[in-house]
């Protein structure tokens, strides 16, 4: 019998050759969706609870937004190292941060190939709010 393979955060760490900065205790959480952006407004517009946030932004706002939206973890791309205040905020809010050297294109590509999907698949222009 085949069991459906759902990725855990520790698998994401392996796939991305990532370092874990805070949130080691959460490496067994399951992850199925992701959202990639450098503009925070898009994250607020579209990202869903429980998804991975892939971004090159390292300021504390990223952590606050991840908290506001109940995101599973933050993946910092392009080898970006977050400043101390970002790390301490993430730790106090128990939001895991992983850092990878891969660029966002490579990061999203690898995760997509392993079965992670966008937390939003499509956005229709016509579906703008009334």
């Amino acid at each position: 019998m085949c069991e459906e393979w759902i990725l855990k955060l520790r698998d994401v760490k392996e796939i991305l050759n990532a370092d874990v900065i805070g949130g080691e205790e959460k490496l067994d959480i399951e992850v199925t969706t992701a959202f990639g952006a450098d503009l925070m407004s898009d994250v607020l517009s579209f990202a869903k609870a429980g998804c991975l946030l892939l971004t090159g932004l390292t300021n504390t706002q990223v952590v606050r937004i991840a908290n506001v939206l109940d995101m599973a973890a933050i993946i910092l791309v392009r080898g970006k190292k977050p400043p101390a205040e970002t790390i301490s905020m993430a730790k106090s809010l128990q939001i895991p941060i992983l850092t990878t050297k891969y660029i966002l294109f490579e990061t999203a590509g690898r995760l997509y190939a392993k079965g992670i999907v966008g937390c939003v698949e499509k956005v229709d222009t016509g579906s703008e709010q009334t």
Binding site: L39, S41, N59, Q61, L69, E85, Q129
Partner: protein, 156 residues
Amino acid sequence: MIPAVNKPENTLNNYSFDIEGGNFNTAGTVSMRIKAILKEKGLPGDVVRKSAIVCYEAEINIVSYARKGIINLTVTPENVEIDVADEGPGIPNIEQAMEPGYSTASQQIREMGFGAGMGLHNINFYSDKFDISSEVNKGTSLRMIISATPLTKDLE
């Protein structure tokens, strides 16, 4: 830091927070606090989430454009009511400002990841009722109402 205004007890339903314009270090902390309060009160997850998002967008707008502002939170059995008022340049053309993508953000703000021009649009989208008024060279006021259907708790 978040100004301590009210005692952090679940019996209170009115909260008020001051926001400093230009302070991106603390921007977002009020929204996080509001989210925690609403969660403590046992409001449904989607109500908490929507409220946190509209607060966050409003808070970032104050920090990005105004000199200072205030966010008032009122929780009733029916609704989460969020009133925002700032002192700042105001908005000359509200309809234009509501358009997705319209932004007057500086380069500095864009480099921080903001200024995509979705703030007011998002607020409108996530609110069940949204009113906005503004006066150039004075400031802007917002009122957002998010319907809260209490599941188990009596909020009074």
